[in-house]
């Protein structure tokens, strides 16, 4: 499933770019992230507890960063597997200055398999977009101090 959208970060482009790749920030802002450990350059192992209203599940996964073109773009790959299924998100993030901040335009796709895919396709897109929004909101909140 394709996912695209944008988020205006109130920081200059260089800062936005580095915030988005800061593993500590990622760990704090990824919804449900309980642990993030570097296992190789640009690859982090992750433990995630997704909790969304009634839905909850534990995931083991990893985050990788690829195709870096600082401070303009990079690719973020998030994978997780758990008892309720697996998910894989792969998105290209493009950064450009706008209104004293940085516009982050993301474009990618999300795959979901296993039981999670059974409850209703209708929830996947909505939920994925909300998770992305939560991530950015939290990131801004923390970065602003």
């Amino acid at each position: 499933m394709k996912i695209s959208g944008s988020y205006l970060m109130p920081f200059p482009q260089e800062r936005t770019y580095s915030l988005l790749q800061d593993p500590e920030m990622l760990a704090q802002c990824m919804p449900g992230c309980e642990q993030l450990v570097k296992i190789a350059d640009d690859i982090y192992q992750m433990k995630l507890k997704m909790a969304l209203a009634a839905i909850s599940g534990q995931f083991d996964g990893k985050i990788s960063i690829a195709d870096r073109i600082p401070p303009a773009s990079f690719r973020l790959i998030v994978e997780g597997t758990g008892k309720i299924g697996f998910m894989k998100g792969n998105g290209l993030l493009n950064l450009s200055p706008r209104d004293n901040g940085t516009d982050v335009i993301y474009d990618g796709d999300v795959q979901v398999g296993g039981t999670m895919a059974a409850v209703g396709q209708r929830l996947i897109d909505t939920t994925a977009r909300m998770m992305i929004k939560r991530f950015f909101d939290k990131l801004c909140e923390i970065a602003k101090g």
Partner: protein, 776 residues
């Protein structure tokens, strides 16, 4: 003194309430999940979440230790069980070894990987979560056209072209007629993947008795005898020690015309654990692992003269097979080729099938099996030809039908159509809708800016599968009839109904022939230890073949009854009717109950006659039967939303002689609604990673009561000369007729916008896009 015997009214052709219903409406019928055996365990299966993946390792240790778990098995344990069988053969067919549990690789999402056996179904389910699999996801392919294109991921690494077989059939002078044709119309037409969705999912209970090395398997099946043969082979046990019972079966529609991994898997477990074991498919598993239907991409070309005379047709058919061959998987598209000329009189055809492996669950027989795809194709092509030639779609059909005097009619694909009067149902349907007025209404609607459509489909089908040489496992049936000492009658048949009501129609045949009340007849089926060998219920064959066998057995029995009757009446000139034998000279009578009693008591026997009133006879059909009909759908498309409303639906079917019109009409209703499901709603969608994303009733729309219209039905009756009952079969007719009628209707509605073709399902959004000018 001679008494007047009132000949009871014939039950054939009568609306008789079903004998099977009292148990079904009171909740006392026994389906597979209702079976409880002492000491029975429960199984729960771990399945692949990936379309394709390598299994690097499986750790079952936690699951094994979980309290209540009896055993956990993986592919390593079951690898010596015989493969899930493919019963179809085609030249050069590539048949992957279909292990009952995956060994080191999984080929579709839902592929079984391990099984937990526990004392309770809740515990079994809990323990499945404790199995740890080290997966390596692999690239997968779900689209059959992409699968056969160069560079696609190989479903089976040994066959990188993903081509399981190719098949060619040709007749006449195809190139010549296409070269000379005044008009050629081409169209790519798809028949999407469909999920059969019987309301009862599959289920298996296996019970092995080690003391006498016998096994009983209860399974929700359309083919208990074939299942017995095949599962016995898979498990390496003698077929006379395996009993298969198909109890009450909650719908099949073809998906229970199969042998799946789970029958052998439960058998294996019961042999290993020494206890009975039950596995009941969840709906999610049903979507993921029970066969799907259709899955065609068809490229049609039709050649004609300007006057509308059809000259020939070409078809390139790509069949999405899925990852394996189930029982009949590769044979299904060949049925489409057989039916590709429909009921039209032309002799030049060319068909090429490519069977494509994909990382999806296998396709196989689903209501109509191959014929709906063919009918949809020809009926769309004829409509497109009519549009191209600005001819009326009814007129072009009437012009091209096989004429009545041509029967028996040899088709371009090698069949012989038994009997037909193709114009009759169409004319009747046109009359019912008042076609001329309807077209005038349509003109008025169009002038008002409304999008009203009228769609016609006329169809033929191959039923009563089939003569034995034309079928993989034999095409005959037999029937045994036993008149018990009381005069009550037990009929045993090898067919296995799943809602079609043969307990009633067969009882009607028996009651009629014996002059008894229908309440005197009991029909047994579905238990290989109780009833004699049979092939099963599919391909609209039960009544035409099983019913004929019954009719023949009854004739034998009647001869024997007359012998006993003659003996008791001391007469050589007796006739049998109305449940008694009459001496034609004296008028004296003896009731069947007395005859039956005497035949078993055997104080005296007629010469060369065994005791008892038992007869068995067989019917090997000389040909298929070919029912036909005409359906008309009137639709209106909502300009604002693209939603399609069916405002009228008329089905006129000819299934030969009708034994029970209530049941026939019920079959048509149900069939039409399944065809509507395909036309408007149903779509088994795999994404590009071969995940089934319409894998539950939350996402896969089978029609609900609010979504379907009132269906007006009528019949014409053209008896089949193939069998003495004159019946043809009706189980699949509605489904075959409906989808082209609806699509033709909606295309007709949208034709003022230049629309020539739409693929199914006709979702409101797909039509809205057309309305936006994004032409289909």
């Amino acid at each position: 003194m001679a008494t007047t015997i009132a000949k009871p009214e014939s039950l054939i052709g009568k609306r008789i309430k079903r004998k099977e219903d009292p148990r079904l409406i009171t909740g006392t019928a026994t389906y597979t999940d209702d079976i409880q055996l002492p000491g029975m365990h429960h199984a729960s299966i771990l399945r692949s979440p990936y379309g394709a993946a390598r299994i690097r390792g499986i750790d079952i240790s936690k699951a094994v230790q979980h309290p209540g778990v009896v055993a956990v098995f993986t592919g390593a344990d079951t690898k010596d069980v015989g493969p899930v069988p493919c019963g179809a053969s085609l030249p050069g067919l590539r048949v992957p070894h279909h292990y009952i549990l995956a060994i080191d690789r999984t080929y579709f999402a839902g592929h079984p990987v391990a099984v937990v056996v526990a004392t309770d179904r809740y515990v079994a389910r809990d323990a499945v979560d404790l199995i740890e699999v080290d997966w390596e996801p692999l690239a997968a392919v779900a689209d059959p056209e992409k699968a056969i294109a160069p560079g696609a991921p190989a479903v089976h690494p040994e066959w990188p072209d993903n081509t399981a077989f190719t098949f060619h059939q040709e007749n006449g002078e195809v190139d010549k007629v296409f070269a000379e044709a005044e008009v050629v119309v081409k169209q790519r037409i798809t028949s999407q993947r469909l999920i059969p969705s019987p309301m009862e999912p599959r289920g298996v209970v296996a019970d092995y008795k080690s003391g006498d090395k016998t096994m009983t398997i209860y399974s929700s099946s359309q083919i208990p005898h074939l299942m017995r043969n095949l599962v016995a082979q898979m498990l390496g046990i003698a077929d006379n020690r395996l009993r298969v019972v198909a109890p009450e079966v909650g719908g099949g529609f073809g998906c229970k015309l199969n042998v799946y991994a789970e029958e052998a898997l439960m058998g294996f477990i019961s042999m290993r654990t020494g206890k009975p074991v039950k596995w009941i498919e969840s709906r999610r598993e049903n979507f993921l692992t029970t066969i799907h239907g259709r899955g065609h991409v068809d490229y049609f070309e039709i050649a004609a003269r300007k006057d509308g005379t059809i000259l020939g047709m070409k078809l390139k058919l790509i069949q999405d097979l899925g990852a394996y061959h189930q029982l009949l998987t590769p044979a299904i598209p060949t049925l489409s080729v057989l039916m590709m000329p429909g009921i039209y009189d032309f002799k030049n055809i060319r068909a090429d099938i490519v069977g494509a492996f994909t990382n999806c669950v296998p396709t196989d027989a689903y209501r109509g099996a191959g014929r709906p795809e063919a009918t949809h194709g020809i009926e769309r092509m004829v409509d497109m030809l009519a549009a191209e030639l600005k001819m009326d779609p009814a007129e072009i059909r009437l012009k091209n039908f096989v004429p009545n005097e041509a029967f028996p009619y040899a088709t371009a694909t090698g069949l012989t159509y038994d009997s037909g009067n193709y114009a009759e149902p169409l004319k009747k349907a046109l009359g019912i809708v008042d076609y001329r007025k309807l077209r005038a209404d349509q003109a008025k609607a169009r002038a008002e800016g409304r999008l009203m459509g009228i769609g016609i489909s006329t169809y033929g089908e191959i039923c009563a599968m089939g003569p034995s040489p034309a079928t993989p496992a034999g095409g005959w049936e037999s029937a045994s009839v036993r008149i018990e000492p009381s005069g009550k009658v037990t009929v045993m048949t090898g067919i296995k109904p799943q809602g079609q009501g043969e307990e009633t129609t067969f009882a009607q045949i028996a009651a009629d022939e014996l002059g008894l009340s229908i309440d005197d007849i009991t029909v047994l089926h579905g238990d290989t230890m109780v009833v004699q060998y049979g092939i099963g219920t599919f391909g609209s064959r039960a009544t035409a073949i099983g019913g004929t066998a019954l009719y023949l057995a009854l004739q034998d029995l009647k001869a024997k009854i007359k012998k006993f009757g003659g003996m008791l009446l001391n007469s050589e000139d007796v006739s049998f009717g109305g449940g008694e034998c009459v001496c034609n000279k004296s008028g004296k009578t003896v009731a069947l109950s007395q005859i039956a009693g005497a035949s078993y008591r055997a104080m005296k026997l007629p010469p060369n006659t065994d005791p008892g009133l038992v007869a068995t006879n067989f019917w090997e059909p000389p040909n298929f039967t070919f029912p036909f009909g005409a359906h008309i759908a009137v639709t209106e498309v909502d300009r604002d939303t693209g939603a399609v409303q069916i405002t009228r639906y008329v089905a006129v079917d000819d299934c030969g002689k009708i034994i029970n019109p209530m049941i026939v009409t019920g079959q048509v209703h149900g069939g039409v609604v399944q065809g509507m499901g395909q036309a408007l709603f149903e779509h088994g969608i795999y994404d590009e990673n071969a995940q089934l994303i319409s894998g539950e009733f939350m996402d896969y729309t089978i029609p609900k009561a609010t979504m379907v219209p009132w269906i007006e039905t009528d019949h014409t009756v053209t008896p089949s000369p193939v069998n003495p009952l004159g019946v043809k079969g009706v189980g699949e007719a509605g489904t075959i007729g409906a989808s082209p009628a609806i699509v033709n209707s909606v295309v007709d509605a949208l034709s003022p916008l230049g629309v020539k073709h739409l693929d199914m399902p006709l979702s409101p959004e797909s039509i809205w896009k057309v309305l936006q000018g994004g032409r289909a």
